[in-house]
Structures are given as C-alpha cells and as structure tokens.
C-alpha cells in the first residue's frame, strides 16, 4: 500500500529567503529550479519518519540552467566571434547550474541519505514515471517512505516564474497533512493517447495533482486524469486514489 502523506509547493524565492533563512543558506548557490524543489522538500520532510532512509526520486527541470548560465552562453558565443575563447574562465558555481541531478545530490547531502535514489531527466511527462517508481519501490517493500521532488521554471532567464513541488509517501496509512484524510495511491494506468498539447514542465503536473488531492474533502474513490499538457504526449495517464 502507498499513501500520500504530505505535499508542498514553493514558487517564491523571496519568501523562502525571508521566512526560512536556514533553508535559504542551504540552497542559495543553486539555480532557481533546484532552490524551489529543495525548499518544498524541506517542508514535507518534517512529516517523514526518517529522511535518511527514504527513497528519493527527483525530476530534473525541463528548463534547466539559470540566467547566469545562459549569459555565459552569450559570453562564449561572443568569445568565439572575437577569437578570445582561450581567455575565458567559467565560475564553477555556474557549472553546477548545468548538472541534471543537482537537487537529488543536494538533498542527499543535506539529509545524509544514502538510500535508493533515482534522478529522472527534463523530458515532458517524466513526473508520472517518477510516481510509478514510488509505487514500485514502496509496494515491493524496499523502503517505507519515498520523497518525490521537482523544480522547474518557465524559462532560464531573469525573472521567469518557477515552481518547486515535493510529495512524501509512506507505506503506512497516515492522514494527508493538509486535509486530515488518508489518501491511498491505488494505481497508475496508461493508455495510448498521442497529443501535441504538451507543455514540458517538471513540477506543474505534480502541483495540479496535489491541488486536486487537497480539494478532496469527503470519502471517495477518485480517478485523476492527467491533463494532456502534463503528459509525455505519447500516453494518457490516470491515477486512481482512495480517500477516506
């Protein structure tokens, strides 16, 4: 059995900086998607029994990098035109902004987690593969908790909005922290459905899913059909939940 225990969304880095200075100190050198994913993770991890032994599944952003990194790309282009590439030196912090599994590793370091770790890349619809992986691990009894984290941004330029999402799952039927209801993840099914409406984003689909769970008040069995823009464009995804 797999239960959703907690969910968090963070979209405002200024709020993280002002209200959670300790978290900000941990994440400030990373790029926006990683900062927001880790800030969301810190919110849900307080509900975990043991953050060091939870399976960690992380989604890389579909819009990776940072404004700094893309400015660097322009510097290199200019250097190429001017024949001065040999003089360029890159700030190692910006090199970090290119790393795809950065949120996963930063989380592991912060929580001394050496457990199962799966980084999925920045392709459309990977969130549902991540959710399937959570189900596979917990249903097989390999771990007792799993945390799923994702961060992304609308563009890697200054001022583009970003969003971080974190979900905590457990094999024990604990109430979902924001509603007090027990939310069981029953199944994830896929159907062949091609669509061109995909908008690649690591976090938006999970955020929409959590919003639906948070809105559920009565006891019921629900099927959440993932909107086409949040899929990989090749398959439809339906998530069956039992809320009691």
């Amino acid at each position: 059995m797999v239960y959703l225990v907690a969910g968090a969304q963070r979209g405002d880095l200024r709020a993280v900086r002002e209200s959670s200075p300790e978290i900000w100190r941990q994440v400030r050198r990373y790029n926006q998607p990683v900062q927001l994913a880790l800030a969301a993770a810190e919110e849900v991890i307080s509900f975990a029994e043991d953050p060091a032994t939870a399976a960690v599944i992380s989604l890389a952003p579909c819009q990776p990098g940072s404004a700094d990194l893309y400015s660097w790309g322009h510097v290199v282009t200019a250097g190429m035109s001017a024949g001065t590439l040999g003089n360029l030196r890159m700030n190692p912090t910006q090199t970090l902004h290119a790393v795809d599994n950065l949120a996963l590793s930063a989380f592991a370091i912060a929580h001394k987690n050496q457990s199962y770790c799966l980084g999925l890349g920045g392709a459309a619809g990977q969130a549902w593969g991540a959710l399937e992986a959570v189900q596979e691990r917990l249903n097989a009894g390999l771990e007792e908790e799993a945390i799923l984290i994702a961060g992304d941004q609308d563009a890697a330029t200054d001022g583009a909005p970003g969003l971080g999402v974190a979900l905590l799952f457990s094999v024990r039927p604990k109430p979902f922290e924001s509603t007090g209801r027990v939310v069981r993840l029953v199944s994830i099914t896929r159907t062949r459905e091609r669509t061109r409406d995909v908008v690649p984003h690591a976090a938006n689909g999970l955020a929409a899913f959590v919003s639906v769970v948070e809105a559920g008040r009565a006891s019921y069995v629900a099927s959440y059909v993932v909107p086409p823009q949040h899929t990989d464009g090749l398959s439809g995804v339906t998530i069956d939940l039992e809320i009691s």
């Binding site: 960690v56 992380s58 890389a60 579909c62 990776p64 990098g65 660097w72 790309g73 290199v76 282009t77 190429m80 035109s81 024949g83 001065t84 590439l85 040999g86 360029l88 030196r89 890159m90 700030n91 190692p92 910006q94 090199t95 970090l96 290119a98 790393v99 795809d100 599994n101 950065l102 996963l104 590793s105 930063a106 592991a108 370091i109 929580h111 001394k112 987690n113 050496q114 457990s115 199962y116 770790c117 799966l118 980084g119 999925l120 890349g121 920045g122 392709a123 459309a124 990977q126 593969g129 399937e132 992986a133 596979e136 097989a140 896929r190 690649p200 990989d232 464009g233 090749l234 398959s235």
Partner: protein
Amino acid sequence: MNDKRRTVITGMGALSALGATTHDLWSGLLDNRSGVRRVPRLVESGITVTTGGEVDAVSPDNVDRDHEIANRAIEDALIEAKRDAAECGFIWSTGLDTFQMGPGGFVHRSAGRCFSNLSSSFSGPRRMIAAACASGTQAIGEAFRLIQNGHVDACVAGGSSVMLTPFYLIGFAGLQAVAIDNGDNPSLACRPFDKRRKGFALADGAGAMVLETLAGARQRGARVLAEVIGFGMSQDAFDLNRPCDDGAGAELCMRRALADAALTSEQIDAVNAHATATYSGDLAEAAALRKLFANRWCEVPVSGSKGAIGHAMAAAGVLEAIVAAQTCATGVVPPTVNLRDVDEGCELDHVIAEPRDVNAQTVLSVSFGMGGQNAAIVLKRVS
C-alpha cells in the same frame, strides 16, 4: 530471487572515439589503442583544451548530432537483438543540454526534447535517467529491475552525450576535471590511475543495450550476450564536487550490487572501473575496490575504458558495460589504455599494456557521478 525473472542482454550498439560499432570499441581496447585525439574544431576555437573523444560517424556540423548519435546506437542494438522498438520500454539518458557550435554561435538543444524524440517509437515505460556520469549504468540497472519484476518484457537501455564543445570544456576546466593540453601526445591525455593523470578527456558517444527476459530470448532463439544479475546504487551524501576520500559511497553501491546478485566479492572475476583519471576520483575508487575485495584486492583484474574513449558522460556507463559484457563472453579483460606507472594509493590488480585472458565470467561494472551518485551492475556469462 527465485520469483524474479532472469534478464539478459541480446543486442548492443556503441558509437565512441574508437569507432561506430561495438567491435570497433572492443578491438581498439584489446589493441591498447586510444581514440582520444586533437579535435580540429576545438583547436580553431582557441580554448586551452583541444583533445577529446570525437565520434566521427556523425558530422559535428549536423545540427541533429545529439539525436543521430543516440539513434545509431539504438538501431544497432535493436538489429542485433532482432527486436522492434514498439515492443520495448526505453530507459535512456541524453545527459545535459547540448550547445553545438553553429555559424552564428551556439545552437542550444534540449536534452529533454532529444529524449522525447528518441522515445516516441517505444511502447513504454519511457524513463529519462538523470544521474550525471552514472546515468548509463543506472539506466541499465533500472531496465533490469523493471524486467526482473515483471513490469516490462524488454527494454532498450543506455545513454548518449554530445558535450565536446567549448561551452562544457571551459566549464570542466574550471573544475580542474579535464586534462588540459601541455604538449603531450593527445592520445595520452587521459591516464586513469597513473601518476601523471590530469583529469579526463571529454568525449561524445552513445551506447545502447537490449535487455529482455532469458525465457523470452530463448523462446525467440535470440543470441544471449550476457546476463545482468545485480544492480546497486547509492549517494555519497558527502560533497557535490568530490568523493569521500575512502570511497565509502562507491563501496556501498558495489556491495548493494553484489547483495542483489546474491554474490560475495570472492565471486567477482574482473572489474570495469569508472577510472575517470581525476586525482581524487581514482584514489577514492581504488580505496573502495580494495575494501570490497579485502585480501583479494591484488588478485582481481581491473580495467578502465576512459583512457581509450574519453569520458562520454551519460553514455560512459553503458559503453563500459558493453566492454564488461564482452569480457563475460570472451573471458578476456582489456588493458587500461595509457596506464603505465600506477600512482600511490591507486594500487589494484591493474591490467596494463595488453589484454589478459583470465576466463572471467562474472564482471562488476561501476560508475560514479558528479554530486556523489553511484551505480554498479554485475554481469555474468550465460552458457
């Protein structure tokens, strides 16, 4: 273990600095030959690093180079396995976004979009692995797990990388991870475990494997190249830029792979090492292997492939697993190209200068990624 399905490799494809086939890769290693060389377009760019592992099979001017390199390896693997993509899952890493040099500057290509294009002909699951330099090994491990547990009957697993551009070379030079030119013979740029090692040579490349159930392969009459019998992963949980000195995270993932295979370290016949040729990386890996093998550490042949093909990032783990599979099939361990004088702290039973026929049947292949992500698989000969 008994209720889990046995998983075997029935097809492989490799594009590397040694050539465009798995045969080119294997024969180049047996010849103790390096494909790393001076790359004209890097020389023209004026940067301090001009050597790398170039893939000649696809032109650097081809704007679809990221897709083409991956697709050729995938097609070769499917052809060898006599499989169709539509009946396979796809567990793949396209690494980081690429920034190829074009006439007007850099052309940005999204790794995610490349994966989406590659995956469109596969039935699913379709998972894009993001585990830095451990991606290729982790892709094989994840595919193995999905097949073993009955989630899918066959998968193409692997990775591809197109990063041999000034954009990344300047960045890695800043991290002091790549070997900067100093007048040496370019083919000697990457010297794993050697006293004179200075870092890796960045490379492009792609490696693909078709994995399927042993029962399915036998039913189809497919040729079985090797069996995957164990997979382990770990996080160092130590530092983003360097491994822990004693290789504890690396050792943990290797022990998990052995436990998964229900083996002890005494049953491992050879190791295909990550052998990245960075100062701290090689020391940590050697320390981890010595602890793993305890009093057998000087008896287990160890070989690394990056001296010959450079570091192909997301493709590295699968290219090295292809070499490990060849070792399982032939019993022969290729030499670590460019290793001559083993550095203090890197002592292992290194295979140097020429291949060694030890009738190796069970091989451990390992990868360690930036950020501290580690993955290991165990391959075995199937008689």
